[in-house]
Amino acid sequence: MEAMLQLLVFAALLLAGLLFGRAAERRHYRDIVAREEALGDILVFSERRIPDFAAPPRTTLVVGSVVIAEDYFKRIAASLKSLVGGRLTAYESLMDRGRREAVLRMKEEARGLGADMVFNVRFETASMNDSAGGRQAMFSAEFIAYGTALIPSRAP
C-alpha cells in the first residue's frame, strides 16, 4: 500500500514534469526564434581579430547569462538513458536553449549600447548541481555568452 502510494507520487511528479517542462520548452523556443529574428541585424562572430573595415571608435564587453533548470521528467529520463548510454536527448534541448538565450541576452545588451557587431564571442557553461543534497539534487546550468561589442561612432 505504501509502495503503491510512493509509485503514484512518483508518476504524478513525472507527469507534472513532462507537461510543465514541455510547455515551458515550447514557449521558450517560440520566444527564442522570434527574438533571433528581431536581433538578426546584430552580427556575432567568434573571430578574435576585429577586421579593419569594422574598426570602431569604441568597443566594450557585453555579457548574456541565463540559468535553466531541468524538470523532473528530464531528470528521470536522463538517469534512465545513462544506464544504456547514447545521446542524452533530454538534456540536448535544455543546453541548446541555454546557449541561444545567452547569446540573445548578450545581443540585447549590445543593442542597448548601439552596437551592430560582437566579436570574439565565447561561451561558458557551469553546472549548478547542488552536490550537498545527495542524489536528490536537481540539475540546473548557467550559460554565459560574452564578447566584444563594436559601437559605431554614430551611436549615442
Binding site: E2, A3, Q6, L18, V33, G40, L43, V44, F45, P51, A54, F73, K74, I76, A77, L80, K81, L83, V84, R87, T89, A90, E92, S93, M95, D96, R99, M117
Partner: protein, 271 residues
C-alpha cells in the same frame, strides 16, 4: 571576405526523436530486465533453500513459530490441538514424508480463518478456521494440503526466494524492505498457483488413502466463502491462494465417486 550570420536551421543540436517515446521504450526494457532478473533470482534462491536439509531448517527455527505480523500464536485448546496433531500424524504416515521429517501442528487463538505451513515443519491452523470447518474431512484436506507444502519444502523455498529478491532490491538501491515483498508477491503469483495445485493433488491423494473418498474436501471453500460473504476482506495470506473456481471444481471432481450415505463425513468435535 564578408561577415554575416546566416539563419541556422533548427534541429542540428537537438535530437528530433521524441524524448517521452524513448523514455517509455527504456522504461519497458528496464522493467522487463528487472522482472526477468527477479524471476531468475527467486527461482535460484528457492532452489538453493531447498538444498538445506530439513533437520538443519528445524534446528534453526526450533520451537518458534515464524508467522507474518498480526497473527496470534497463543495455543487455543490443548485437547483439540492434540486431536488435530494426531490427525496430521495419520495423514503424514500415508503421504510418505521423507525420513526424519516431522510436522508440528499448532491450533492457535485467532479469529481470522487461516492455515499455513511455515519454516521448521510447523503448520498453523487458527481456531477461527477450525470453528468454520463443516467436517473432519475438510480439516484433513487443509492439513494434508499444508503437509504437502512442507514435503515439497515450499516454506523454505519461499523464504530463500524472498531473500534473493531482497538482495536484488538492495543491489538496485531501491527501498528493499518496502518493495521486496511486493515484488515477491508478483513473482510468486504464477509460481504459487502451481505449488497450490500440486499441494491440492497431494492432499486429495492423502484423503483418498485415509478415508477412501475425497468427499467434504471442498468444505474449506464453503467455510471461506461464508466468511468472504460476510463482507469482510479475505486475509492477505489467503489472497495468494487463488480460491478460484478451477480449484473447487477439481475437488468436486475428485469427490464424484463418493456416496454421502454409505460413506458419511466424520464430525468435527467442537472446541
Amino acid at each position: 571576405m564578408t561577415y554575416e550570420n546566416p539563419r541556422i536551421p533548427e534541429g542540428i543540436n537537438v535530437a528530433r526523436e521524441s524524448v517521452p517515446a524513448e523514455f517509455l521504450r527504456l522504461l519497458a526494457g528496464l522493467l522487463l530486465v528487472v522482472v526477468v532478473a527477479a524471476l531468475v533470482l527467486h527461482l535460484a534462491g528457492g532452489w538453493l533453500a531447498r538444498q538445506v536439509p530439513f533437520a538443519l531448517e528445524r534446528s534453526w527455527v526450533g520451537e518458534r513459530l515464524l508467522v507474518p505480523p498480526g497473527i496470534g500464536t497463543d495455543a487455543a485448546d490443548a485437547q483439540a490441538q492434540e486431536r488435530v496433531q494426531a490427525l496430521a500424524r495419520e495423514l503424514a504416515a500415508g503421504m510418505g514424508l521423507p525420513q526424519g521429517m516431522t510436522v508440528d501442528v499448532h491450533l492457535v487463538r485467532e479469529e481470522v480463518p487461516n492455515a499455513f505451513a511455515t519454516l521448521g515443519g510447523h503448520v498453523l491452523v487458527t481456531d477461527g478456521l477450525y470453528r468454520r470447518l463443516p467436517s473432519e474431512n475438510a480439516l484433513a484436506m487443509v492439513l494434508a494440503h499444508e503437509l504437502a507444502h512442507i514435503r515439497a519444502r515450499d516454506p523454505i523455498a519461499a523464504a530463500g526466494g524472498g531473500a534473493a529478491l531482497t538482495l536484488l532490491m538492495l543491489a538496485l538501491g531501491g527501498d528493499a524492505e518496502a518493495l521486496a515483498p511486493q515484488l515477491a508477491r508478483l513473482v510468486q503469483l504464477g509460481y504459487s498457483r502451481q505449488a497450490e495445485a500440486r499441494a491440492d493433488e497431494a492432499a486429495i491423494a492423502a484423503l483418498l488413502g485415509h478415508y477412501g473418498h475425497a468427499g467434504g474436501a471442498a468444505g474449506l471453500f464453503e467455510a471461506l466463502a461464508d466468511y468472504d460473504g460476510a463482507g469482510r476482506e479475505l486475509p492477505a495470506l489467503l489472497a495468494t491462494h487463488p480460491a478460484d473456481a478451477a480449484r473447487i471444481a477439481r475437488l468436486q471432481q475428485a469427490a464424484r465417486g463418493w456416496d454421502a450415505t454409505r460413506q458419511p463425513l466424520v464430525a468435527l468435535p467442537a472446541l
